[in-house]
């Protein structure tokens, strides 16, 4: 089969790889019909997450058709021919965390938890195509995908909706929704969101749906005007971090209070302006003394109203410096974060899509054959050609 492989930092290639086979009795093989490039894939390609091996297959936002099932897959739940979305974290459905709907914290699906335990104290669930820190599972930017514990993970989809409407249930739609849900939005609240990438777009629309009084999106008008425009179309006001003083604007818009909730939808590769910190982080990450550039996070802490909530869907992997703990403590902030518990949100969000309240396909700007994935990575990374979201077609 054709698959998108990580060969080295900054080197992604489409390679010929063996077709996946059933390994464990509850595995299934999915023939991928649509698969996407995610902002967090860029962290792997840019070398910000060190646990990649040459030949690892990337991708964690696929959907497709079940092609084969292992002997122990529950036939009442998953059969050959089912149309399914594959959530990016792999759950077992039975452990402490899965039982409490915290699927991305599953205790049983990460085959090599010792790495995460050494670095973080505990390991996350296994995640498709997302480095050996999360188990090293082959990813979904491929023509076929092996999915473990298929009967609790694969999410059956109806036939009357398109791939474009459904594929984002695998990651970014639930991620945006969970980010807004964790922001604990009340009717009179102002919500500020750093980052107008695909997750930011879904977050701001979720915040609007959850009844926020005012939603403010922050990004760079000169380099990604199309994202800012999309945010405004989704019901947000925008602040241009390049030409405006973000904290001043936020305080001014809220009578000095600051936003009730601040959401960091940027993560570890944050680019800051007018701020010495971003230079500091660039130097330290290039010297391998720091793994993240938490500029957006720091600014969110600074701007958030006292007693407010910070929600962090942006991905961080290791260690960050100059976290303003004093501000967090003295302002009494609550921080909520986590890899998305996709399985928990799929039924509700599928219903929202069916009812026509959300049509996630608006973020798609590019459709490419899988064989042009490296070009997709390139334009997505450099934000060229108005690129917001790339969907790959493995059959083309």
């Amino acid at each position: 089969m054709k698959a998108v492989a990580w060969c080295a930092p900054h080197l992604v290639r489409v390679e010929e790889a063996p077709d996946p086979a059933i390994i464990n009795p509850r595995d299934a093989i999915v023939r991928v019909t649509s698969t996407c490039i995610c902002g967090s894939d860029l962290h792997l390609v840019d070398g910000f997450i060190p646990f990649m091996k040459p030949g690892d297959i990337l991708g964690h936002e696929p959907m497709g058709i079940v092609e084969e099932v292992g002997p122990a897959v529950d036939p009442d739940k998953i059969k050959v021919g089912d149309r399914v979305v594959v959530p990016f974290p792999i759950g077992c459905g039975e452990c402490f965390f899965c039982q409490r709907q915290m699927w991305s914290c599953c205790e049983n699906t990460n085959p090599k938890p010792s790495l995460g335990e050494t670095m973080h104290g505990h390991a996350t669930a296994g995640i498709f195509g997302y480095s050996h820190l999360t188990g090293g599972y082959a990813g979904g930017q491929a023509q076929y995908l092996r999915t473990p514990l298929a009967d609790v993970n694969l999410q059956k989809m109806p036939e009357d909706l398109t791939d474009d409407q459904l594929v984002f249930l695998s990651d970014i739609l639930p991620t945006g929704w969970m980010a807004a849900e964790q922001a604990d939005i009340q009717p009179d609240d102002t919500v500020a969101i750093w980052g107008c990438g695909p997750v930011g777009q879904f977050t701001l629309r979720s915040a609007v749906l959850m009844g926020a009084h005012r939603v403010i999106a922050i990004d760079d008008e000169s380099s990604v005007p199309e994202r800012m425009q999309m945010a405004r179309e989704g019901g947000a006001e925008t602040i241009d971090m390049n030409s405006e003083d973000v904290p001043y604007r936020l305080f001014e818009m809220t009578g000095g209070l600051g936003p009730d909730s601040c959401i960091d939808a940027v993560g570890m590769e944050s680019h800051g302006y007018h701020f010495l910190g971003s230079v500091y982080d660039r130097v330290k990450t290039s010297l391998m003394l720091e793994t993240e550039r938490p500029h957006a996070f720091r600014q969110a802490v600074k701007c958030c109203r006292k007693g407010g909530t910070l929600s962090v869907p942006g991905v961080y992997g290791g260690f960050a410096d100059k976290i303003p703990l004093g501000a967090i403590m003295n302002k009494g902030l609550t921080i909520k974060t986590g890899q998305t518990h996709v399985h928990k949100y799929v039924p509700k969000l599928l219903d929202e899509i069916r009812q026509g309240r959300i049509d996630p396909s608006f973020v798609i700007t590019h459709r490419l054959p899988l064989s042009e994935a490296p070009h997709g990575y390139e334009i997505f990374r450099k934000k060229q050609d108005g690129c917001i979201k790339v969907v790959l077609d493995p059959a083309a």
């Binding site: 089969m1 698959a3 492989a5 990580w6 060969c7 080295a8 080197l11 290639r13 390679e15 010929e16 790889a17 063996p18 077709d19 996946p20 086979a21 390994i23 464990n24 009795p25 509850r26 040459p54 030949g55 690892d56 297959i57 122990a72 792999i90 077992c92 459905g93 039975e94 452990c95 402490f96 039982q99 205790e107 049983n108 699906t109 990460n110 085959p111 938890p113 296994g126 188990g135 090293g136 599972y137 082959a138 491929a142 092996r146 473990p148 514990l149």
Partner: protein, 252 residues
């Protein structure tokens, strides 16, 4: 550990335990083979250390041990475990009914499904069983021992120990205790063992990442996974791209 201080040992007599001798011999031979292909100082070191290890394995005498007054040859017997045994304890929360967990463990034939070194456990009668394990450093690659269950409290506790004439010496227990509310069961495994090859064997094992502490933890986690997920998730054998060697080249 099984080190016994011996001031009376005669010069040149056997002061290295049998398993440790085997390990010495094997490591020494490997080093000598390396020396054949090595160069310079590296080759000389491999030659020197390799010959010493082979000598030590062949004669059973270690000059360093003699100088330090150590003798591992009169290693631990079953009665020594209390004095010299290494203890390992691990505990995992398993979200399944205690009856299922106890029943699975009590059927000793299931043990090789989550204890990675075990090949087979065969029940000889209600209490006694024969265990076969992989042991790469031993001739034939397998070791075998007999064990007996010394305590069996249904759904609470199971304890076993090796029979006195066995080639390995350990005792262990598994305890099932209720976790608060609906959380499931705390499964705690305790092992006391005399490390094969004494302290030296333990160091060598650690060097190769086979430290028993890690082994027990990894095995108990596999038990949890088998019970909760009904299989042990793995990526072994999954598809992988080659990058035509380009990736490795750029990566190194």
């Amino acid at each position: 550990m099984s080190t016994v201080v011996s001031k009376l040992s005669d010069k040149g007599s056997i002061n290295v335990a049998r398993t440790e001798r085997l390990i010495s011999g094997a490591l020494g031979s490997a080093l000598l083979l390396t020396a054949l292909s090595g160069r310079g100082a590296k080759r000389l070191t491999a030659l020197g250390v390799g010959s010493a290890l082979v000598y030590r394995g062949f004669t059973g005498h270690c000059h360093a041990y003699e100088a330090l007054g150590i003798d591992t040859a009169c290693g631990a017997t079953a009665s020594d475990l209390d004095r010299v045994g290494v203890e390992v304890s691990e505990c995992f929360l398993v979200a399944k009914p205690v009856e299922d967990l106890y029943r699975f463990w009590r059927h000793l034939g299931n043990l090789p499904r989550f204890m990675s070194h075990l090949k087979e456990v065969e029940a000889l009668d209600e209490r006694r069983s024969r265990w076969t394990a992989a042991a790469p450093l031993v001739a034939g690659g397998l070791i075998q021992w007999d064990a007996e269950i010394v305590e069996d409290i249904e759904n609470q506790r199971l304890a076993w120990r090796t029979l006195p004439e066995s080639s390995v010496d350990h005792r262990g227990s598994v305890e099932f205790s209720p976790a608060p509310g609906e959380r499931g069961v705390y499964v705690r495994v305790e092992l006391t063992y005399a490390p094969p090859g004494g302290q030296a064997g333990r160091w060598i094992a650690k060097l190769f990442g086979e430290a028993p502490e890690q082994q027990v933890r990894s095995d108990l986690r596999k038990f949890k996974r088998l019970m909760e997920a009904r299989e042990i998730p793995t990526i072994e054998g999954q598809s992988h791209a080659s990058c035509y060697g380009l990736g490795q080249l750029l990566h190194s």
